[in-house]
Symmetry: C2
Subunit: 265 residues, 2 copies
């Protein structure tokens, strides 16, 4: 089954049900295209033999991440939260892990405000310790849902290191600029403030704790049950995407139909 086999059976109604999302049959067909390289060498992380995971306390990983933020920024602080605790437990591969080699991913890529740096920080650890790359795909996808649709930061540090803060906000997106901008507006502070640093440190702690919980399940059960369908956004919207289309497109969100029809040319 592939996308072209199915296209003649699709009606406009099929594609517009479910709030403008493409119908399930399209999603199934699309999976065929996306999975053409399934089970190739590219789906195994050979690093899993080197980088081991042991069950960790999410609160301890979060606290380490928070403390590291103020010298390492978002991405490397999440990696440090894991590396310090895995090293303490004696897990292989973490003794001399180059935590700061990934610093450039801060602030949505060297400050460009794209992907919030906390998530690639967690992704790097997740990707290294899980053998089947489909597991890392499922966990990072779930992490993006958690990040986007949870009021954050909810983490409360053992001791406040920069400044007390009052607000939590729901980003609606994994994009750094939008996420931090919404929070800055709610809190009434600038980017270069102690409060904003405190917020991002606590947010990094939340992301680290959530990823720890996922990896603990994987460590105990030997598998991971996704909370959300991997590649859902790609299949639903016909493009790599979030689910906050109108935030940028306003009332003129391009229809998956438009994308789909171009296949029929």
């Amino acid at each position: 089954m592939n996308l072209l086999d199915n296209k003649k059976e699709m009606s406009r109604r099929d594609m517009l049900i479910n709030g403008g999302k493409v119908a399930a049959v399209t999603a199934v067909a699309a999976m065929g295209v996306l999975q053409t390289v399934k089970k190739s060498e590219a789906y195994e992380n050979t690093g899993a033999a080197t980088y081991k995971y042991l069950k960790l306390d999410p609160q301890e990983v979060a606290q380490s991440t928070y403390e590291n933020y103020f010298k390492r920024w978002c991405t490397s602080s999440v990696i440090a939260g894991f590396a310090e605790n895995l090293k303490k437990k004696g897990a292989a591969g973490w003794n001399d892990f180059p935590i700061d080699a990934y610093r450039w991913a801060h602030g949505g890529f060297a400050g460009w405000g794209a992907l919030c740096g906390t998530m690639p920080g967690a992704g790097i650890v997740i990707g290294l310790v899980t053998k089947d790359t489909d597991v890392a795909e499922a966990m990072t996808n779930d992490l993006a849902f958690y990040y986007s649709y949870t009021d954050l930061p909810s983490f409360v540090p053992a001791k406040v290191l920069k400044a007390p803060i009052k607000h939590m906000t729901m980003a609606g997106t994994p994009v750094c600029h939008i996420s931090v901008g919404k929070w800055m507006r709610a809190e009434g502070v600038a980017f270069l403030s102690n409060e904003r640093q405190e917020r991002c440190a606590r947010l990094a702690a939340n992301v680290a704790a959530e990823a720890t919980t996922m990896l603990n399940t994987y460590y105990v059960d030997g598998t991971y049950k996704p909370k959300h369908k991997p590649l859902y956004n790609v299949l639903a919207n016909g493009i790599t995407s979030q689910n906050n289309c109108s935030d940028c497109h306003g009332q003129s969100v391009p229809s998956p139909r438009e994308t789909y029809e171009s296949l029929e040319k």
Copy 2:
């Protein structure tokens, strides 16, 4: 010198000159806040002792990246382009490098369309082989400028593996969704098409070639001269950001003044 010392000397005119950007004095002051952790352990990549770089042919790295794309997707294909060629040259650290541990960064983070996965692919290599994290910061920042403001993809493969394509587009952003969306519209094809895969494979090749050129300079000269000021966007716009503000904000781009004034509370 810090931000608070300077704020009373700022006039509204100072902050609105330069096309709505903050004035240089603010930028200098802001750097003080951003650099409070300067020269700490977090500014050295300890992994540089393990992962070595040797001068490579940008075209060869690009070709390897292109060929790998169709099984590994954007992030891991760029890593593979470097790893295969560094291994061939005998550079330490790349023999068993876990190329596919970073697959999850594809499509802007597991398909969420945020940061184009080609750039974190290059960033991972850059971050591992450069000792001073300021060098990686400068290179990734320059890479985001290259990616955003160049008509791409310009790479021409030795043999077309998926489909001939006609268009190059300027993304104006490092964001996957916008970048690929603009190209899809110009080419008139859907995301799940051979043409789109061909485009992303060639784009990954371009990014790999550009990063190779940067690393060659660093390898030969022992240093890297940034083309663009690191953290420019953060300092100019008062938030982690790109420079295409009106694409999403329309005529209502928040002023740095608004951000700045909140500091005076």
